[in-house]
């Protein structure tokens, strides 16, 4: 019999999908794991992991839509455990992309940096050093960064959208740190998730001034690359342009040190 070459696609909104996974019985659950070849999507653990799981924040507030009080994941306390168990069970019968475990791997930023270090070293290349921090050392390290004594960035695993990134430019860093440590301590008692780790990285001013290249790879082939640059030194606001020609960041030219006056030395790369 000839193998199918196309998917027949069915859209399932989050409310229905979550309900099916929480119920774990009935004809819709049976249909899902008997008749489905591939599930695309799922709960995004790539943002503030603890708060999303424990339903304490409005996820939309990350995107400046704090007026919307509705939680997009609409999960009650305890639902997250059932959801993850159901996804694990479902994943034994149905292909899921990305697998829930991949979201967790993405959230483990420290482990990702370690693997990047090993990979770079094995290619005889350099990679910035990453140092895990103990909770009792955090405050003194952050203080030294804020005072200018140390050039560095402190980040937390299981977080995203720059919520737990502290540089010398960060406002309310003490408040961020204190709240995070309290949350972490509280959720450890659940025993569901590992302790989140903070770590120290070198401060790379070019990431704020000049941005970086983001390249998209499918099946080991590069399809396109985009050059992104923060607007007004705010990493959450980004301007971008197709990077048809890869060039070192030093060949970009800053005029008057104002980010809005960033120009490119090649006419084909004008924003």
């Amino acid at each position: 019999m000839e193998k199918p070459t196309r998917f027949s696609v069915t859209l399932l909104d989050w409310d229905d999908f979550l309900q099916i996974l929480l119920m774990r019985k009935g004809w819709r659950w049976d249909m899902l794991w008997r008749s489905t070849d591939l599930i695309l999507g799922g709960l995004n653990l790539g943002c503030d992991y603890l708060c999303v799981i424990h339903n304490e924040i409005n996820y939309n507030s990350y995107h400046n839509h704090s007026r919307n009080p509705e939680l997009p994941f609409k999960m009650k306390p305890g639902d997250s455990k059932i959801y993850l168990e159901s996804m694990s069970t479902l994943g034994q019968h149905v292909s899921i992309w990305p697998a829930p475990s991949e979201y967790i791997v993405t959230a483990q930023k420290l482990e990702t940096q370690r693997i990047l270090q090993y990979s770079a070293t094995s290619l005889d290349l350099q990679h910035p050093l990453v140092i895990p921090l103990e909770p009792q050392d955090l405050k003194s390290i952050v203080d030294s960064i804020l005072s200018g004594e140390r050039e560095g960035v402190v980040k937390r695993e299981y977080s995203g959208f720059l919520k737990h990134v502290i540089t010398k430019y960060t406002k309310n860093s003490e408040e961020i740190l204190q709240k995070s440590l309290e949350e972490d301590q509280r959720y450890q008692n659940d025993g569901l998730f590992p302790r989140t780790t903070w770590f120290l990285q070198p401060f790379l001013p070019h990431l704020i001034r000049l941005g970086e290249l983001r390249t998209y790879i499918v099946d080991g082939a590069i399809f396109y690359t985009v050059s992104t640059t923060p607007v007004d030194f705010d990493p959450t606001l980004t301007q971008y342009v197709a990077a048809e020609i890869i060039r070192p960041l030093e060949t970009f030219r800053l005029v008057g040190y104002l980010p809005e006056s960033l120009v490119f030395s090649s006419p084909s790369l004008q924003l």
Binding site: G46, T112, I115
Partner: protein, 161 residues
């Protein structure tokens, strides 16, 4: 922990990836999915050293992940790699000959939440081609049961000597 790190590092050094031919699907050894040989060549980049670096790092990351976890790495299907580019202090940069660059990977994302900056790919339509290829790769992965939980890692093929 230190022993594990040293073992992992040693395993990485033993990998079979051929850095001399990073884009040859038949040689690299870590691409086991059925790639589409008819992808428009315009979709591929123009700067050799950058692409060589990115694909070498990708190969190493996949090997490291699969050897640590014993599972199929989703990096084989899709990822977005964020890279910084520097001038090599040891020599002059020649943009035409594509030499003298150094690169560092800042972050890797492999989920549906990776921002695509779709508009910037419109002149060449590269993102559209990527979606077509991605759907084929996902179909292939489903048929080979590579995405089931827990899937076995694919066999590593040795590059011919």
């Amino acid at each position: 922990m230190v022993i594990c790190q040293k073992v992992s590092f040693f395993l990485l050094l033993l990998c079979s990836y051929d850095p001399n031919q990073p884009t040859d699907l038949d040689v690299t050894g870590w691409l086991t999915l059925d790639g589409d040989a008819n992808v428009d060549p315009r979709a591929f980049g123009k700067t050799l050293s950058f692409h060589k670096f990115v694909l070498q790092m990708l190969g190493k990351l996949i090997l490291a992940e699969e050897r640590c976890s014993g599972r199929f790495s989703a990096l084989r299907i899709f990822c977005r790699m964020d890279v910084s580019v520097f001038r090599d202090c040891s020599g002059d940069v020649d943009l035409d000959s594509d030499s003298g660059f150094k690169y560092v990977v800042n972050e890797v994302d492999r989920t549906l939440n990776a921002c695509l900056y779709y508009a910037s790919s419109k002149p060449s339509g590269a993102a559209d081609m990527m979606f077509v290829h991605l759907s084929k790769i996902l179909l292939s992965a489903v048929q080979k049961k590579l995405l089931l939980n827990p899937p076995p890692p694919p066999p590593i093929r040795r590059a011919p000597v």
